[in-house]
């Protein structure tokens, strides 16, 4: 169907996608590697690796990420299995509420736990700076990854196979052991890999909940090297080590993801739970639901009842949204406006780029771009910010620099939302349009685009939500006057006093509501991606 010699949009898209990735991901990463290796020739590198401080950082990061992953699986898997097994009233709402923490900015997650168990909080048990608190926060915003990936996979693939197992003599437990779990293994491992990468490069949660530094990840150390002392060499070396680990695990993820992303099919309708099933559902779903809601509820509460306050007060809200007279502290209104502008521009860019990726993969036959589109997911945001700083110094502190970084981070969400929709367009429809005289460009315009509109909106909205909450790159790349909401929240949390605390909580609630609104809109539009 491809016109010979003509400029096929699939190839044009491939060139655009490759250029996007080269400029925004490859060049920054190479700049980091070049700087890191140049700064530390082999002998020096060995010295760094032998440095007990460094070894401890790497060891603790690995330990923390491993524990986070195991715990997240332990909390998420029973819920995923229950989700895949039963249909029950409120399931869609529950699924949506489980996704909330995942799209919630890490700063909101951090602030939520701070409000719940931090100093002066109702559950102040001295948990600050402990591994347990870091793990709890990581489980909070990652268990949705497990429920979505594993539960979604099983829900789509397994009902008819479970029926078959039942008629072949297997009870529910035997079916889970012999059919459901083996089937889900690639999806489980893929989810585990993703959770590991996210927690290995964790940033916002650590700097808010464990500011003492005991549990600093490499990512936090990269930031400290850049921000506190402008030691770009040290930062680059640390980032290279982190990249090697993250990319290896991300590679495993993309390979596993390809195996577990079965074409979604509607099997037999799921059964309603019996009495035992209800018990299973409550036991598996109530704890994560509580874990999801408690920090967010605490956050909202603390924004009107800050520590030491006698009763409800709008002090924090007023302080947050009054024009700021403090140097280096953005006002809430300003930061909200900045965040919305970044979200809008970067979502637009991410939609164009993600569209180019999906189109090049499906219509241009450039399959390698399918996996390449996942790469930004494995790139942590501080590292990306550092890379852009090194590769394109002119962008530092400009609007374009951060918008581009956010576009890169948002792009995978668009591409993954578009791929199934584009693949779902029957070949016969393309052929019919071709026979009717539409060339590839006209088909793109008249056949593909109209069919992709819901997925485009969903992916773009997801990218906007991600931009709203992005923290690390914003911290590295912005000037004070470009402070986004997450940055402004962090600025406030770093200042003493109940008023600043309440202002931080108020802005965190603002960010939570903004993100929630975007996601609620998406759920209504019903976009579903290939994960």
């Amino acid at each position: 169907m491809r016109g010979r010699g003509a400029l096929h949009p699939g190839h044009v898209a491939a060139v655009l996608a490759a250029a996007f990735l080269a400029v925004l991901l490859l060049a920054p990463l190479l700049a980091i590697v070049a700087r890191g290796v140049a700064a530390a020739p082999l002998a020096a590198l060995q010295e760094i690796v032998r440095d007990p401080f460094f070894a401890e950082r790497l060891g603790r990061t690995l330990l923390q990420a491993t524990l986070s992953t195991v715990l997240t699986l332990a909390v998420g898997l029973p819920g995923a299995l229950a989700f895949a097994h039963y249909r029950f009233p409120g399931k869609a709402a529950l699924r949506a509420s489980f996704t909330v923490p995942f799209v919630m900015p890490t700063v909101v997650a951090g602030a939520g736990f701070l409000a719940l168990v931090g100093p002066g909080a109702p559950l102040d048990v001295g948990a600050m700076d402990t591994l347990a608190l870091v793990l709890a926060a990581h489980v909070f915003y990652n268990h949705a990854v497990v429920v979505r990936m594993v539960g979604g996979f099983l829900e789509a693939a397994a009902p008819h196979l479970r029926d078959a197992a039942a008629t072949l003599g297997a009870g529910p437990l035997r079916t889970a052991w012999r059919v459901t779990l083996p089937l889900a293994l690639p999806a489980i491992l893929a989810a585990a890999a993703l959770v590991f990468v996210f927690t290995f490069t964790s940033f916002g949660v650590i700097v808010i909940l464990a500011p003492g530094g005991t549990w600093n990840t490499l990512e936090v150390e990269v930031y400290r090297s850049v921000a506190r002392s402008l030691q770009l060499d040290v930062a680059a070396t640390l980032a290279v080590v982190q990249l090697v680990v993250a990319m290896a695990v991300a590679g495993a993820y993309t390979a596993l993801q390809a195996r577990s992303a079965v074409p979604l099919r509607s099997g037999a309708p799921l059964p309603r739970p019996g009495r035992g099933g209800v018990a299973v559902l409550v036991a598996t779903l109530a704890p994560p639901l509580l874990l999801t809601l408690a920090p967010l509820a605490a956050l909202a509460w603390r924004s009107v009842v800050p520590p030491g306050a006698d009763g409800p007060t709008l002090l924090g809200w007023r302080a947050a949204f009054a024009p700021s007279d403090l140097l280096g502290v953005a006002s809430g209104g300003q930061a909200t406006w900045t965040s919305l502008r970044f979200a809008g521009v970067s979502a637009l860019l991410a939609t164009l780029a993600g569209g180019a990726f999906a189109y090049a993969v499906v219509r241009g036959g450039h399959r390698w771009l399918d996996r390449a589109s996942l790469l930004p997911l494995a790139t942590s945001s501080v590292t990306l910010g550092l890379g852009i700083l090194l590769a394109w110094p002119a962008w530092a502190g400009t609007f374009a620099g951060l918008a581009a970084a956010h576009a890169l981070i948002g792009m995978p969400f668009v591409a993954r939302a578009l791929l199934p929709s584009l693949r779902g367009i029957p070949a016969s429809r393309t052929a019919a349009a071709a026979v009717a005289g539409a060339g590839p460009w006209r088909r793109l315009l008249r056949v593909d685009l109209p069919a992709l509109r819901p997925a485009l909106v969903a992916g773009g909205g997801f990218a906007a939500a991600v931009s709203l909450g992005e923290f690390g790159a914003a911290l590295v790349l912005t000037r004070p006057e470009w402070a986004t909401l997450p940055v402004a929240i962090y600025q406030r949390l770093g200042r003493p006093g109940a008023e600043n605390y309440a202002a931080a909580m108020a802005m965190a609630v603002t960010l939570m509501v903004a993100t929630g609104l975007v996601m609620a809109l998406l759920d209504r539009l019903g976009g579903r991606g290939e994960w």
């Binding site: 197992a165 008629t167 003599g169 297997a170 009870g171 089937l183 059964p271």
Partner: protein, 338 residues
């Protein structure tokens, strides 16, 4: 495996109701499946036939009514203890297991020894024409081969009842006809009680000793295929079975019947002294000719198919007259039930 005396009794469905919210999928179904017999559940999509099969398998529970096997109440028995084997429309082979492990799945659950499993799997694969395919993966097989594996898997533990849910509908036509023949032979020699769900009339008539015709959650008529064709009973059944020629109530009354009536055009024979029909169109149909006829007296349209040499003279063309004898046996009054 169960005791032979229990296998001897009929599978009985009594007053079974199944609702999904406001939709009543099964609205009081009665059905008998004698031991060794194959009952074909035939009906248009959405008539409830697959739901009835899922109830027989125990995958869903009825909202009312009972299912018994040789007097034993199965209604509350879970699928794994019902002694059923089921073949699914989309095959439902386990993608993480090879062919041998798929066929042996139920044997593992039933605690068969490794050697006994291996023998049974080999025997069944041989039986369905896939000898030696144990180590292959489901996705490496064609649709027809997958369906054979699914059949072998369902038969492996010697089920008392075999349930087949549109097993051929995902296959192409030529393959479907081959497999239909194989299935028929298999069902006849196995002496297993079988319920076969299909929306394809030809399949139902070829495979069912008894055909149960379903519509809108009820079983409309039950009987051997020939009896159903001879006496479809009502307009809907006759139309669904494609029996020619159903004359609506108005025409039937004009001809002196109480309501709609079936005119079997294949019972009409050329006869110079017969009724005069105007030929509207003639079209070759293989070696035969299809005449679209109109009886101006009764204002009846019908199609008659016959060999040219049966006709007394040269075949009449459009606008000419064809005389046919209409014996009394050609008429069958029908109920006017909707």
């Amino acid at each position: 495996m169960s005791a032979p005396d229990r296998d001897g009794g009929p599978l009985e469905v009594r007053g079974v109701v199944r609702r999904y919210g406001a939709v009543t999928a099964l609205d009081g179904v009665d059905l008998d499946v004698p031991a060794g017999a194959t009952v074909a559940l035939l009906g248009p999509s959405g008539c409830g036939k697959s739901t009835l099969l899922r109830l027989l398998a125990g995958l869903e529970a009825p909202d009312a009514g009972r299912i018994t096997l040789a007097g034993e109440d199965l209604t509350a028995v879970p699928p794994r203890r019902r002694g059923v084997g089921m073949v699914f429309q989309d095959f439902a082979l386990f993608p993480h297991l090879d062919v041998g492990a798929n066929v042996a799945f139920a044997l593992v659950e039933a605690g068969w020894s490794r050697a006994a499993r291996r023998d049974r799997v080999a025997q069944l694969l041989d039986r369905v024409g896939l000898a030696g395919a144990e180590r292959r993966r489901p996705h490496e097989l064609s649709g027809g081969q997958q369906q054979r594996v699914a059949l072998a898997r369902a038969l492996a533990p010697h089920p008392r009842t075999l349930l087949l849910d549109e097993p051929l509908s995902n296959l192409d036509r030529a393959l479907r006809q081959d497999l239909e023949g194989e299935l028929r032979e298999l069902l006849a020699t196995l002496d297993v009680r079988a319920v076969y769900v299909t929306h394809d009339q030809q399949e139902a008539f070829a495979l069912g000793d008894v055909v149960a015709l379903m519509r809108a959650g009820r079983i409309r008529r039950v009987g051997p295929p020939a009896a159903l064709l001879d006496a479809p009973g009502d307009v809907w059944t006759a139309s669904f079975l494609g029996v020619r020629e159903v004359l609506p109530a108005a025409v039937g009354r004009r001809l002196g019947f109480g309501g709609p009536v079936l005119l079997r055009s294949d019972a009409l024979t050329p006869d110079p002294g017969g009724r005069a029909f105007t030929v509207e169109r003639v079209a070759p149909l293989g070696e035969e000719l299809a005449f679209d006829l109109h009886d101006p007296d009764a204002d009846v349209h019908l199609r008659w198919v016959g060999r040219p040499r049966e006709l007394p003279a040269a075949p009449p063309g459009a606008g000419e007259v064809l005389r046919l004898r209409v014996p009394d046996t050609a008429w069958t009054p029908l109920e006017d039930a909707p």
